[in-house]
């Protein structure tokens, strides 16, 4: 299944063209995106570092989750909204960008990790939440979250680079990974 036709349709909509061509809206949305990363990933990082036993060791994990969750939700909401708008501005190139694709994989893995943490590991936090050093499954979830979100940020930043873009010849594995082939006619 290819989502390319959908992206092509999206790219032809007036909103996408307006965002793409505007002088200030795109940089503005991009700045909001970066700043909400500070809010969302910053708060998530504090929780992750607590889970690994590195900071706020005297504060129960449950307190950190309940106090920071509204900020994480706010940051996440604005971050995702601005991110979707950035995609909406440049759908085809993003879809065929290798870093964008890796970023989506990291995002899904980070989401799964959060799901496993909140439905499983955190469910019995009453038992271990006060420990300065949480159990290994909680520490693992913390480390996984740190690594996955770092992956999201790095690959997200690299989307701007055109090293593997479709408008020039690329090795076979890149063509497979980006789902496009170089056509000198175009």
């Amino acid at each position: 299944m290819s989502l390319l036709p959908f992206c092509q349709w999206l790219a032809a909509t007036p909103g996408s063209i307006a965002l793409h061509e505007s002088l200030f809206m795109y940089p503005l949305i991009e700045s909001v995106h970066v700043l909400t990363i500070c809010l969302f990933v910053g708060m998530t990082m504090v929780l992750d570092l607590r889970l690994t036993g590195l900071v706020l060791r005297k504060v129960p994990v449950g307190d950190i989750v309940s106090r920071l969750q509204p900020w994480m939700f706010l940051g996440f909401f604005v971050m995702v909204t601005s991110g979707l708008l950035l995609f909406y501005a440049i759908p085809i190139r993003s879809y065929q960008n290798i870093f964008f694709r890796v970023k989506v994989v990291f995002l899904v893995l980070a989401g799964l990790n959060a799901l496993v943490f909140h439905t499983g590991i955190f469910a019995d936090a009453a038992a271990w939440g006060r420990d300065a050093e949480p159990p290994s499954r909680a520490r693992l979830a913390g480390v996984a979250s740190l690594v996955l979100w770092a992956g999201v940020i790095v690959t997200g930043r690299l989307i701007a680079y055109n090293w593997f873009d479709c408008d020039k010849p690329q090795p076979g594995w890149v063509q497979v990974a980006t789902g496009c082939s170089y056509d000198p006619q175009q």
Binding site: S31, I37, M43, V46
Partner: protein, 158 residues
């Protein structure tokens, strides 16, 4: 005083050349810059939120601030080093960039403010002066917001 020769020297330095001529270096350093921004920004925001009576409000400001201090300090250190490396690669462009000038100005004020006034307030034992604490938090968020937004804007200008 004309600083252009200094900027030109930075651009022609070994570091500037190496980063500029490499395919990967600029992007790699930029990623490190962004990661440490998230670390430092998160550490600053958590304390500012606490000053605004939001976030970790059951813990004393002093405790939250001293826990976050190492992340703020190290984050800032990595930001400055990676930022200088990025700067060396395109120093002359930065010389003519208004977002860059705004960023550096805001950065100097923000750093000075953070390590003097804000530091005194967040590490103080006293819990008096709620209004002053709110003001300090808002100034801190405003200043660092300007640094990050103007910094992002360097890439969009010129």
């Amino acid at each position: 005083m004309n600083l252009l020769p200094l900027f030109q020297w930075c651009e022609e330095s070994g570091l500037g050349r190496t980063v500029r001529e490499s395919v990967w270096a600029f992007a790699a350093v930029e990623s490190i810059h962004l990661l440490s921004l998230a670390t430092m920004g998160g550490a600053v925001l958590l304390v500012d939120l606490r000053l605004l009576n939001l976030g970790l409000r059951q813990r004393p400001v002093r405790e939250v601030a001293s826990e976050m201090q190492p992340f703020m300090n190290r984050g800032l250190a990595v930001l400055v080093v990676s930022g200088l490396t990025l700067f060396a690669a395109e120093a002359v462009k930065c010389y003519y960039s208004s977002p860059f000038q705004l960023k550096i100005l805001a950065l100097l004020v923000a750093t000075l403010f953070t390590y003097t006034v804000r530091r005194k307030v967040v590490l103080s034992e006293s819990t008096e002066g709620g209004g002053a604490r709110i003001l300090v938090a808002l100034v801190s968020i405003g200043l660092w917001f300007t640094v990050a937004a103007a910094g992002r804007w360097i890439g969009f200008s010129g």
